[in-house]
Chain length 160, copies 2
């Protein structure tokens, strides 16, 4: 991953995509969000969702998984080129997480992130902070989730 | 669950508690947040966390599970008393989710929620909106997670 100094407002990341199948929707819901419209097709059809759909938390944590994979792949590319790899993270939380539409069985969600602000960190002089807006959109292009996170990113070491 | 009219600012919910063991921390992380400090004790000891700790997302989704169980238990009590059960949800998202401290293996997190605002819904005349601040604290009383949610709650039907 890039150093703080090499990251600009407007930078985009194609984080990845994921198709939600009914088995994984139910496995996640059974463990973490056992509301019947995430578990039972017949109940879901009669609910305000109209069909089986993923827990909103499931939609969120799939972003996390894809982001870890994305960072790892970017680090491998940098390593292969002999470039240094700046550390990113930890995230301290996120703001304004919105579930905009349900994610139904068979939907493919494409996740993207965009840098909207950068600033040096006061608490960690070796790091900067980048603010990132992340979104997931379904195969019709409809946004289903969005949230804003602020993450520490390593600064380029000063050459003495 | 109560109708909107019966919910007051300051109402508290003892959502539940959960002890995080290393197996479940790793199972969650392997699937959704495979960073090594959530998967490997030796790597975690050398990281800024100092020991194996749960993914922040894991800490969040355990709250969701406990909240579903809490609502179900409350609905059963109401049913046994012959009281009506108002529908709660869906949540449209969250604001200001903060991971305040790591959750280490063996930590017991106690989750609480408190109503901080109530208002009628403009978009759904049959519902009100309640704003709830939820927190999780470890066995030392240290907050580890907090977030704010706004949820639709059914209004008491008017008696004609």
């Amino acid at each position: 991953m890039k150093y703080f100094e090499d990251i600009q407002v407007g930078d985009n990341y194609a984080v990845g995509r994921h198709t939600f199948n009914s088995d994984e929707i139910k496995v996640f819901a059974r463990r973490f969000d056992p509301q019947l419209f995430h578990l039972d097709e017949a109940v879901a059809e009669r609910s305000h969702f109209g069909a089986l759909c993923a827990s909103g938390w499931h939609t969120a944590v799939v972003w996390m998984r894809l982001m870890v994979d994305y960072r790892r792949a970017a680090a491998e590319v940098a390593r292969a080129r002999g470039e240094p790899i700046a550390s990113h993270g930890p995230a301290l939380g996120f703001r304004d997480l919105k579930w905009l539409k349900p994610v139904y069985v068979g939907d493919t969600i494409e996740y993207k992130s965009e840098v909207t602000a950068t600033r040096p960190s006061n608490s960690r002089p070796g790091s900067g902070l980048i603010t990132v807006v992340s979104t997931g959109a379904n195969q019709k292009g409809e946004p289903v989730i969005s949230f804003i996170s602020t993450v520490f990113v390593e600064r380029r070491p000063e050459i003495p």
